[in-house]
Symmetry: C2
Amino acid sequence: MSYGWKEYAVELEPSKELLKPLVVPVKTLMAPGPSNCSERVLKSLQHQLLGHLHPETLKLMDEIKAGLQYAFQTKNTLTLAISASGHAGMEASLGNILEPGETVLIIKSGEWGSRAANMSTRLGAHVEYLETELGVPATLTDLEAALQRHRPAVIFLAHAESSTGMKQPVEGIGPLAHRYGALLIVDTVASLGGEPFYADSWAVDVVYTGSQKVLGAPPGITPISFSPAAEKKIFQRRTQVPVLYWDMTVLGRYWGCFDGPRMYHHTICATLIYGLREALAQLAEETLPVSWMRHKAAALRLEEGLRRRGLELYISNPQHRLVTIVPIRIPENIELQLVIEEAMRKHKVELAGGLGPTSGKIMRMGLMGVNATPYHVDLLLNALDDGLRYARLVKKSKI
Amino acid sequence: MSYGWKEYAVELEPSKELLKPLVVPVKTLMAPGPSNCSERVLKSLQHQLLGHLHPETLKLMDEIKAGLQYAFQTKNTLTLAISASGHAGMEASLGNILEPGETVLIIKSGEWGSRAANMSTRLGAHVEYLETELGVPATLTDLEAALQRHRPAVIFLAHAESSTGMKQPVEGIGPLAHRYGALLIVDTVASLGGEPFYADSWAVDVVYTGSQKVLGAPPGITPISFSPAAEKKIFQRRTQVPVLYWDMTVLGRYWGCFDGPRMYHHTICATLIYGLREALAQLAEETLPVSWMRHKAAALRLEEGLRRRGLELYISNPQHRLVTIVPIRIPENIELQLVIEEAMRKHKVELAGGLGPTSGKIMRMGLMGVNATPYHVDLLLNALDDGLRYARLVKKSKI
């Protein structure tokens, strides 16, 4: 048999850096996310790939769906995970239930409202804001006034405004929205599994979260759930969902959310399915109430440690503080970057500054998933002490 | 310190299936993809997560970019990977360079043209087809006639039409497209790394591929590259790219493709970055010419084995056959599903039927990445023999 090789030539050569071995340091991720994965989740990731329609894959997807229904506390059948990051959860929520020309009312209390507005504008929707003071949630009274004024088709809010560490209470908003004919989207990227959340009893229409925060799976696969009212709206749209990749009328069929056979839509990442399945299994084993209490205990221990050091919590009202993200005001005369660098250098602990409107004003610490333990709180405080000491030392040496 | 616990209750309980251990069988994936990952890639996936803006992550992204420039054979600076499956590569290509009201000419030679049309319609574009006979590529003469008739802004074609196993020659199409003022998108999802491909010297404007085929990384992260002409068009659009998630003017900044600082856009999946980096490192070590020859040798060995068994290759002209996907006509009186089931049961080897227009007509075998070796060809033929024997046996027992 003659192969009849022709001359294969290349015009461009490979990079030298790529030919060096992969080295990945192990860090303790205590910024607002991603958080660390458990050993069990990491171990699951090395399993060989499965095909996107293999029965084993479909079974794991079913288990994920059940795990998500538990995590969201919902019976919604249109519950699945999008093969993309949490950003896509936001864009898919809006893209499915918002039509061109409709109005979306965005509760803007930090970074995420601006991002939702950017996406909504691209969809041809009309954006109205209910803007709050940074770190202070919107009240039902404010919201009702805004609903009367703007008559939106959709309301968007972030349960965990990670740019400020503020928790927006959700209870009561769903029924109010529905009285005014609006559907409610809630972003729980930085809260789900750490803060109590009840999609069904709070009458939330669309909710999504991040896989890489409290749940402790890798990023890149985004849990989302639609209420029967949201599902109805999607199937009754005047225009097609502009993006096939997250058109729920098609993606929902791949995930077995409707009657009828499962259909090929895209090649799901088996690796991320393994990781998310194991993360949800760990949550189901621990149970939500225990996870909620564990996160609360960690946050209280951290807040106590911060107070003892004379550091000022950014959110003044304890009722509005998230347990997953604890922000403090940057102390006077401290260069935050030096604190962050020293914590990483000496302890491999990640801390973070502000984001968007809080940039340069606050430092944010994350207590999510496997990192919400007394051990991690103490490690974090230790790293913070060393970081602050280093920043003061540098300051002094410059005087 | 009093915790002041309130009563945490849940309304819905976790699923029993989720509480069982994860079991993932090891299969040899010899359908048109995903293919198997190498041990080196699988090992890389279990590294702990890194943050999306950590210096180590940004360095790995730079290495991936260099590896992709090599794999695509391009110097395009706007070369990166989208955090989503290959489907999103197609939708992002169209979404970035096609504006509402513009015409896209789709070379339709199987399944992928239909999908590109679906996406283009959602973008508000006007779709025209150059349709070919199944398994036969379009010629430059056909294409020029279509360009004269339709005057499209964009041409879309699949280099590897995986639904038929047909290879569409690309050389010559780029310059022809440009003479008519059109930009050229090429889908290399099922070919890149296995078939020679030269983005720059073939004057391709947008090219994307799948991570999970020849490259041998997990799915969920999709390499894509834009020529300077494509980049220019994106920055000069009259309308915004409708999707922020894959708007290259923003995503390109996160990947360091333009001058200026790198900016947060979404939380990239460190796990998939590790896997893709290692897959590209392995390709760079092997070199493209050797990888191309290895895939060709495997395909020739498989074709020879099929001929010896009296099986008929679906693509009659050897010049139009892909080396990565080898399809045969389903032999008379054979129930394909039985062949596929027996190959999986007895050998854990995955075979596939047709897709879309070839459904029920052909069987498809994939030789991609680590599976393009003589050992795997022989394993595949062995599984095929057993599958065919089983299907004949069942047939006989029914008579």
